[in-house]
Symmetry: C2
Subunit: 398 residues, 2 copies
Amino acid sequence: MKNFRFKNPTDIRFGTGRLDVELHDAVSHFGSRVLFVYGGHSIKKSGLYDTVKGLLADLQLTELPGIEPNPKIASIREGQKLVKDNDVEVVLAVGGGSVIDAAKVIASAKFYDGDPWDLVKDRGVTRHKLPQLPVVDILTLAATGSEMNSGSVISNPETHEKLGTNGPNTPAVSFLDPTLTYTVPHRQTAAGSMDIFSHLLEQYFDRSKNNDASKGMMEGLMRTVIKWAPIAVKEPDNFDARANLMWSATMALNGVMSVANENGWTVHSLEHELSAYYDITHGVGLGILTPRWMEYALTKDSTTAEMFARFGRHVWDLEGDETYAVAQAAIDETFDWIQHLGFPMTLPEVGIADERHFDAMATAAVANARLETRAYVPLSEEDVKAIYQAAMTDGLTA
Amino acid sequence: MKNFRFKNPTDIRFGTGRLDVELHDAVSHFGSRVLFVYGGHSIKKSGLYDTVKGLLADLQLTELPGIEPNPKIASIREGQKLVKDNDVEVVLAVGGGSVIDAAKVIASAKFYDGDPWDLVKDRGVTRHKLPQLPVVDILTLAATGSEMNSGSVISNPETHEKLGTNGPNTPAVSFLDPTLTYTVPHRQTAAGSMDIFSHLLEQYFDRSKNNDASKGMMEGLMRTVIKWAPIAVKEPDNFDARANLMWSATMALNGVMSVANENGWTVHSLEHELSAYYDITHGVGLGILTPRWMEYALTKDSTTAEMFARFGRHVWDLEGDETYAVAQAAIDETFDWIQHLGFPMTLPEVGIADERHFDAMATAAVANARLETRAYVPLSEEDVKAIYQAAMTDGLTA
């Protein structure tokens, strides 16, 4: 096991009925001048917008609506102006990962006089030298884990860049009420669940040896997502389904699972190029690519087969002594589970009819994520292209 | 799933070679007047005492040696005087759970003018109203999890009480270097591992419904302890064994595993009376009682059998469809694993030759832990006595 440092002071308030009692104090503890960041009309439709406004009526709320699903730098710039002009003391984010991502960068941008894109472009180097306003959030989607980590992904349409940046702090307080996700449509529930599952998978398939404590916890969380995601898709107001997904999403990416890990993230980087060239949902892209990556990765060497077999036995409850057979069965189970969540399972089904961008996408994926040196199974541009090609046809090739 | 609140800001520094680089700053960040709390001669023998003194030579260290395996209130009183007299700014604890337990209460006692037993006696009610000095610790034993929680257990020989107390804060910084546990003797390694396993088991067998995220993570940690404890016992300097046990111990009791749980701790309360009446090691008592409790609990109802079968399948990798058979096999596996760690498995083997205290012990256990109402499987005094009696003879009764 490698050395690691872990610290995560986010104050999690999980469950129903907490906002009425706790939201006001959680926010006003940091001050009375608040930037209220949110997305579109969904929180107005659900009534959450009115609830928040009512509970914080005595505070000075400045609103920043319109945060996009992939938050754009323009919103951050707008937020920067607002926090400076109003001398904001605390940022309140109400929404999914994108809204919280944006809030965290704005919380740094108050203390930076230049263009906030600088704070993204350098991956957070400058942010770590700056103070950061406290962020309080109310989560409305179980997916990214942004509610308990310091990361943000911000897009810059002018430069065609979508980059991750880390700040010095995780959110100060996160309200996680599973009932606020009852209104998430089934397709988005499936995509969010796929995102959670993929976060776990990316950290699970790593090159560290004997990191069993982390791997064991991830296996438990993966079983939890496998069990409850289909239920949440079918029964949107199943509390236990929503609660298990919500807490699994948070735990998957709050740093606990990645301690002592040694790897880069492969499927996310492959999907990143897919989203960059075509306008498809992140979780849908992950659903299509994940089993294809698994199939491609398995054939490489026996250490990998052992790891996939472990995945089969502890995540999919597969039995049998033949390592390679269990490993292959685990991939089949993964494919079937994703398909049963209602995902399209080929690239043509999401409108990618030909391979004309695959060379460029493969080049970018390998370069950006250093897949030839950092990936669990090292991948060349040819390898990546083959994975994209496999996703053009139905089912698995084996 | 029930509502829960979770916050744990302890800064974990895990791995080798960190003290030389990080200890001085971690301590002096809080001030230069330090209370250095430790136990007996083991840290002097290992050289850790000299290392710490050398690294902190420019700080004003006041020493409080002699913290006992079950820390006594006399040590806390001594510590209270020292932190007040020297206007101490930070407490440095070097040792196992007992030393860290003592340090946390002393850290509160600086701000209390009465007898610190008051701070234990009221289970921490007063401590939560007081400030608390920051505690930095260097852990030398994987067992109690005190390095990342706010709890302490303090004994008062005058009143024959041994009570738990919680403070407002977890340790500020905890150094977890697995190599510092290489010198832990095999018997204490086994007892520490049993303590970790039992912490997980007590939280796992609970009455919450559908708390799969927590249960899944605990299953992973239990598998980790099962795998690595026997290796650590046989190969004391196996880094991965020591590292997995150390991190599992911390994760088992830092609050992550208990979120949304609904239960009291049964086996710990049964063992508590054993330790109170006879001078036996906590982990050894847990080893003897755990399989007997399991066997007694299993016969009660079918929900319990389902839970034990789940434990068998996900923790012991047992196969088979017959719930009750898998449940029973899981108990056998648990018994064998404990026995193979080198534990005595009956009460007579640890010097308890007769049953004369069993009535009083059963009465106290049921009353102290409210076992008739709060336990996973409710237990009467008769039930508890039967479990003690079962531990008088070899093997399991089934």
